[in-house]
Every structure is written in structure tokens, then in C-alpha cells.
């Protein structure tokens, strides 16, 4: 009887399992895990490995001295990278419109006139035409209302107002004849004066109809067809807002500028294609499909994507000692996304959703200093370390300990940096494919689309259920359930959507969006990465590239712990007649511990490269 420990060093997580092995019998005693230390496949991994082993032994109720051998997977390094390019930019020129949609505009209706500074209102004569009064923060609301009423009494028509402070209703409520008022205009000093302007405020819950219609603008400003065409983007930008201001400046407009985002050179084994990042994910992935199998990818110098690709290349070169020129990028995944960005030239902090393209890339090598890792681990632990087991084969073996599974089975490892597929075709062969893009890309997409820079917060949004803080004493969860609290919740969470962490914490999400929208962003990001990559990876390993030929798919890896990802992958595969579910390694581990278990399963059994494991013994006394 030997006491064996299997260790799987992953990109993010290192896992271990402990078993008593006798002949072909295995009695599993416990498992443990720890964060991977350093880049997977390098000597710094030893720290994390030792920690994982310690935890597994603790669960097993055994000591390190009793261990006969530690089995290590080949752990070929995989470097993943991630970058994003914003490809559009919204610019308002000449302060021609205000579309920040403040929460409490005043009045209702459409007012058309000429912009007049508040200070000049008293000097305005009745025959001068209707005025849109521009009121800075220095003016108190009562003073403002009094002045507007006085002007009206004098016969000066006041058609609307643009106000810096959050005072629209305070002013409108005091007017003899209420007019539409847009407030919270931060840079009111930039509103062009002496020009034709229109202010429109819709009723509660409604949106403007005139300023968001090109022909409405034409009617209001008496535009020629040519001028109407020029002003059309303003109408588009104001669609769906409850209030809006348009100023007829000579050359002002709103543009959605395309930001040149550089090109990608996709080098296939037989063909090459250059594609514009601006073309979007569909175009990039279509080009990728045409040059498959991929040999390398190069980005344009100076672009974010180019920098990222150069970076992963460099990290791998450092690792393996290869020349940078010999490092090959083996897969990329592009995803369309959008980022809320402040509009350039905005008068009131307007935000626009700019288009962006996210790119995940992956570099791997078949060589790596794994023997060094084995030696260092043997040294550290005093136990013989055997390197063996092609990771994919071990994953398949471990996954097959899930009840209800039998070969042939495909295993999808949903990790942090890559999505890996392994398909055991017959006795000897395991076809594998590593697709760029996994949990980290999902987190990135969620963060960018919600305007969250904090990666940890984005990770919370990805992994935690959401709730709306309805009062300081209760929240409503995604499914409508209500949870009550005795002590008041923090004031900054009030009326916000929060992520409910496993520790019972409540993290507010600083976004304007409601719960349903955040939920949709979350699920959509998971779909765009994992449903896409599950199919991509399975196609690469399936016989004839036909996913339908695969009967069973088992999901393992950290991202298979996610409360939504497995169902989204299963949904995508259902159309192909595939039974897909989350693994349950040894009927108790769920999707974790597959490779570590596989190593132990394969130990001592004649089967391909696994049995021929390379051994590293500790420099000290031989173990008996």
C-alpha cells in the first residue's frame, strides 16, 4: 500500500488529492487547493503546491512523512493575455447639444428661442423674440424665478431655461407660466449665447419627440435638407432622453468618430490575413476561421492589442529561454463589447457607450522547466516527485470518475485564461485544443460594459447573485425574494444594486443601470466567451469537426463552479445533441480536482505516456 498525492498545477489554482494505492485499488482520503504561485510550470509554483498538498493531507488526516510519492502533471506553461481597444469616440463640437438627461428637469414641453445670459435678461425688449435663459450657479432659484416672471410681465417671451444648479423644478414651480427647464448643466459657461436654441422636456416616464427627430429639428430651426442631414446625429444622440437642449451653432455637430485601432496579422499555416480591429469581433473571427490552423498573430505596434500580444510573447520567451521570434501565439478570441466613456465636448458630463473590441490571446509551449519544478518540490517536501501524465489525459481520467460518464467523453476545462478541450478517441489518443478566452475575459467584459475599473468588483459581479437595496432594512434578490436586516444597511448602498458575496457581504455596484440590465450584461459576457469557446474547442477535437458526434461532455475547472456558466454552455451544446453537465469528480468534488485525481488513477497503470512517468527523488535519503 502506498500513500500517493496527485498535484495539478493550473494557471490560477493548484490542486492536490491524497489516496492509498494498492494494486489497482484506490482509496481517496482527501483533497485540497491553493492559489498557484508564479507562472504555471515554473519553480515558484512549489510554494502553492506545498500549500495544496498540506491542505489535502490535513483533510486526509495524514502527514507528509507518510507520503510515498507525489505525482505532478506536465504543466506546460500557458500564458494568457487580454486587451481591449475602444473603436469609437463620441464628440460634441461647438457645444451644440446637451443630452445628459438629468433626473429632475422642470416644466414640460418644447421651448424655442435665442440663448440669453441671465444677466442680460433685464435688458431684453419684448420685440427681441423668445429667449432661452442661461442661468449659472451664482443665481439663487428665487431670484431666477422672479426675474423670469418680471420679464414675462414686461412682454418678453421666456421660452425655456438652461440651469447650472439642480434647480429646475424650484424655478419652474415659481413661474407664472412654467417653461421647460434643463438643469445640472455643469459647464453652463460654455453654452453659446445669442444663438437659436430649443429646450424640450417630456412628461414623467416619457422621452423627447421633437429634438430626437431629424425633421423635428428641421422644423424647429427651419433647416434645409442639407442642414437636416448634418444635424441627424444630434437627433440620434438625443433618442430616449427625457430632456434635451439643442443649440444651433454654425458648425456644431455630434460625431461618432471611428478611432483607428490598428490591424491584426493572422498567420495561418497555409494562409495569411490582415484584419482591421475596427471591423469588430465577427470580422476578426471570420478571418481567423479562414486561416486556421493558426500559426501566429501579430498586432500593430502602438495599439493596446499589439502591446498585449508582444507582452505575452515576451513573458513566454523569458520563461522558456526561447528567442522572442520563436514564440508563437496559438489562439485568439475577439469579442465585441462597449465601454461607457465621457463624451468629449459635453457640457454636463454626458456619457456615451463607445464600441470596443476585446481580444484574448494564448501562447503555449511544449517545453518547460517542469523537471526543475519537480526537483524543487522533491527538495522541499522530502518526497519522491514523479512527473507524468499529459494534462489532457489526466483530465479525462479524472472526469470519468463522475457518475454517469463513460468513454468516449469530451472534457471541457473552463479556466481563467483558456478554455481547454480534450477528447479521448480510443485507447491511446487524446485530442486536445486550447482556446484563448475564459474566466478572465468574462470578468473583463463585465467590467468594461458596466464601467467598473476595479477588477475585484467585476469578479464579484460575475460570481455573486445580485440584489436591489429597496430600503435600509431589506433587499430584493434577483429572483424576487426579499431579505430583511435588523441593523440598517450603509447609506451608500441605498437604492443601489449590490453583489451578495459568499461571506455575507454586500458590495454596491456604482452604475446607473438597474438590476436586470446588470444581470443581462453578466450572462451575456459568459455566453459570449464560454458558449462560443465551448463550441470552438470541441470542434477542434471532434472527429471530422462534428460536435454532434460527441455523446458526453463533462465540464471541469474553476469557471464550471460558476452558477450560470455550465447552463449556458449546456444550452449551446443542446442543439448539437450533446449531453453536457458539470463534472462530479469521484462523486464528491464537483468540477474540481479532475487532473489531480487523474494522476492518481493513472499511477502504475500501463497506459501511454502516463505510466512512464519521469521521477525526481529528493536529494536526501532514499525513501523506503
Amino acid at each position: 500500500m502506498s500513500l500517493i498525492v496527485g498535484v495539478d498545477i493550473g494557471n490560477s489554482t493548484t490542486e492536490a488529492c491524497v489516496a492509498e494505492v494498492e494494486g489497482s485499488g484506490r482509496a481517496y482520503l482527501g483533497s485540497g487547493l491553493a492559489a498557484t504561485t508564479g507562472v504555471k510550470g515554473t519553480v515558484p509554483n512549489v510554494t502553492g503546491a506545498a500549500r495544496a498538498i498540506e491542505r489535502a493531507l490535513l483533510r486526509a488526516g495524514r502527514a507528509l512523512e507518510e507520503v510515498d510519492a507525489i505525482l505532478l502533471n506536465e504543466a506546460t506553461p500557458v500564458i494568457s493575455g487580454l486587451a481591449m481597444e475602444t473603436i469609437t469616440e463620441t464628440i460634441i463640437t461647438e457645444s451644440t447639444m446637451i443630452g445628459h438627461n438629468p433626473q429632475t428637469p422642470g416644466g414640460e414641453g418644447l421651448g424655442v428661442g435665442v440663448t440669453v445670459a441671465f444677466e442680460r435678461l433685464a435688458a431684453r425688449a419684448p420685440g427681441d423674440g423668445p429667449a432661452i435663459v442661461v442661468i449659472a450657479a451664482s443665481v439663487d432659484f428665487e431670484e431666477a424665478a422672479a426675474a423670469l416672471n418680471a420679464a414675462a410681465a414686461r412682454g418678453v417671451e421666456v421660452a425655456g431655461a438652461v440651469v447650472q444648479r439642480d434647480d429646475a423644478r424650484l424655478i419652474a414651480n415659481r413661474l407664472d407660466r412654467p417653461v421647460p427647464i434643463v438643469d445640472e448643466v455643469t459647464h453652463v459657461e460654455r453654452v453659446p449665447l445669442g444663438m437659436a436654441a430649443a429646450v424640450e422636456v417630456a412628461g414623467p416616464g416619457r422621452a423627447v419627440r421633437t429634438l430626437s427627430n431629424s425633421y423635428g429639428l428641421a422644423t424647429v430651426f427651419d433647416l434645409t435638407p442639407e442642414e437636416t442631414r448634418v444635424v441627424a446625429p444630434v437627433a440620434r444622440a438625443l433618442t430616449g432622453t427625457r430632456s434635451a437642449v439643442v443649440v444651433r451653432t454654425p458648425g456644431g455637430d455630434v460625431t461618432d468618430r471611428r478611432i483607428p485601432a490598428g490591424t491584426l496579422e493572422l498567420h495561418g499555416e497555409r494562409a495569411k490575413r490582415t484584419v482591421d480591429v475596427n471591423g469588430g469581433a465577427e470580422e476578426i473571427m471570420a478571418a481567423l476561421r479562414r486561416v486556421q490552423p493558426l500559426a501566429d498573430v501579430v498586432g500593430e505596434a502602438g495599439s493596446h492589442v499589439g502591446g498585449m500580444l508582444a507582452g505575452v510573447r515576451e513573458t513566454m520567451a523569458d520563461l522558456t529561454g526561447d528567442a522572442i521570434g520563436d514564440v508563437r501565439i496559438r489562439d485568439v478570441l475577439a469579442a465585441d463589447t462597449f465601454v461607457p466613456r465621457e463624451v468629449r465636448g459635453g457640457l454636463a458630463g454626458e456619457f456615451a457607450l463607445e464600441n470596443a473590441v476585446a481580444l484574448a490571446a494564448m501562447v503555449r509551449t511544449s517545453r518547460g522547466p517542469i523537471e526543475q519544478v519537480a526537483r524543487a518540490l522533491a527538495q522541499e517536501s522530502g518526497v519522491e516527485v514523479v512527473v507524468g501524465g499529459v494534462e489532457a489525459e489526466m483530465a479525462v481520467r479524472g472526469a470519468l470518475t463522475t457518475p454517469g460518464t463513460a468513454a468516449p467523453v469530451a472534457v471541457l476545462d473552463l479556466g481563467g485564461g483558456s478554455t481547454d478541450a480534450a477528447l479521448a478517441r480510443g485507447e491511446e489518443q487524446v485530442a486536445t485544443y486550447h482556446a484563448a478566452g475564459a474566466g478572465d475575459l468574462v470578468t473583463k467584459l463585465i467590467g468594461s460594459e458596466l464601467g467598473i475599473d476595479d477588477r475585484e468588483l467585476a469578479e464579484h459581479v460575475k460570481t455573486c447573485p445580485l440584489a436591489k437595496v429597496e430600503s435600509l432594512f431589506h433587499v430584493r434578490l434577483e429572483d424576487g425574494t426579499v431579505q430583511y436586516f435588523d441593523a440598517p444597511l450603509p447609506a451608500e448602498t441605498f437604492a443601489r444594486v449590490v453583489a451578495l458575496t459568499e461571506e455575507g457581504g454586500m458590495v454596491p455596484i456604482p452604475t446607473r443601470h438597474g438590476l436586470d440590465r446588470i444581470r443581462r450584461v453578466r450572462r451575456d459576457a459568459k455566453r459570449r466567451v464560454f458558449a462560443v469557446n465551448a463550441l470552438r474547442a470541441l470542434r477542434e477535437v471532434a472527429e471530422h469537426g462534428t460536435v454532434r458526434g460527441i455523446d458526453f461532455v463533462v465540464l471541469i475547472g474553476g469557471s464550471a463552479l460558476d452558477f450560470e456558466i455550465p447552463e449556458l454552455v449546456a444550452e449551446a451544446l443542446a442543439d448539437h445533441g450533446v449531453v453536457c453537465g458539470t463534472g462530479n469528480v469521484r462523486a464528491v468534488e464537483g468540477p474540481r480536482n479532475a487532473v489531480a485525481t487523474g494522476l492518481v488513477e493513472a499511477w502504475g497503470r500501463e497506459r501511454g505516456p502516463a505510466a512512464a512517468g519521469r521521477s525526481a527523488a529528493p536529494a536526501a535519503e532514499a525513501r523506503s
Binding site: 433626473q103 439642480d166 414651480n173 435600509l472 447609506a491 451608500e492 441605498f494 437604492a495
Partner: protein
């Protein structure tokens, strides 16, 4: 008044008119009514042991903005209260300990922006909108 309204209690004595104006303006801009209760002993809200003990009336009229706010919150149909004294303004809810209001603004170096924001926040508690940060 049967509709929703934030109640505001004043301390006995001279009313800090400028501060009151800012508080009321914040509520008005948000569109939530504010009812100003006269200063004087607050009405007893419950006899001991009968109902929610949190809203028992103190024996005498408090001059403390927090206690005033708490009494106002107990009386308000939407359970949100403001209290205003010469020293400060407080925003309160019945379930909080009377001495620990949700938000406070000192009147010692009166900042009309902060008082206005407090008024906004009283209304936002009613309207279910995230609170403004006090400037």
C-alpha cells in the same frame, strides 16, 4: 396630510431660516412633499409596551436635531424625518437609535450646499433613488 411627506421638526426658539430654506428646496426639487411641524413637545407616539417602543416620545421637547429628526421620522407617513436646530440638521429613520441619525450636517459653519443635499437625500429615501454625496 394623507400623502407621502417627510416630516421636519424644528427646535424651540429661533428658526434657522436659511438652513430651513435649503432643506425644503432639496425636497421640493425632488418632488417629495415636506411638512414642517411646529416646535414644541412632540406628540406621544405610543404608550409604553403597547406598540413599537422605538417611537416612544421623550419626556420633554428635545433641542437636539437628532432627537427631533427621530420624532419626525416616527410621525411621518413615509417614516423619514428631518430635525433642525441651531446646531445642525439631521436625517433620521424610526428604526435607528434616536441618537444615531442616518446623516447629519452641522450648522456651525453653515454650508448651504450640504444642507440642500440633505434635503435631496431625505426625498431620495422616499423616492428610492441613490443618495447624493454630501459635498
Amino acid at each position: 396630510m394623507s400623502g407621502p411627506a417627510v416630516f421636519l421638526r424644528l427646535a424651540p426658539g429661533e428658526v434657522p431660516a436659511a438652513a430651513l430654506r435649503e432643506l425644503r428646496a432639496g425636497l421640493e426639487e425632488e418632488g417629495v412633499p415636506c411638512r414642517v411641524l411646529p416646535s414644541g413637545p412632540p406628540a406621544p407616539v405610543a404608550a409604553p409596551g403597547a406598540a413599537s417602543p422605538v417611537c416612544e416620545a421623550p419626556a420633554s421637547a428635545p433641542a437636539d436635531a437628532a432627537l427631533l429628526a427621530h420624532a419626525a421620522a416616527c410621525a411621518s407617513p413615509v417614516s423619514v424625518g428631518l430635525g433642525l436646530s441651531a446646531d445642525g440638521a439631521c436625517l433620521h429613520l424610526p428604526q435607528l437609535p434616536p441618537g444615531a441619525p442616518l446623516l447629519s450636517v452641522s450648522l456651525h459653519d453653515p454650508d448651504p450646499e450640504r444642507l440642500r443635499a440633505l434635503g435631496h437625500n431625505a426625498a431620495r429615501l422616499v423616492a428610492g433613488v441613490p443618495l447624493k454625496e454630501l459635498p
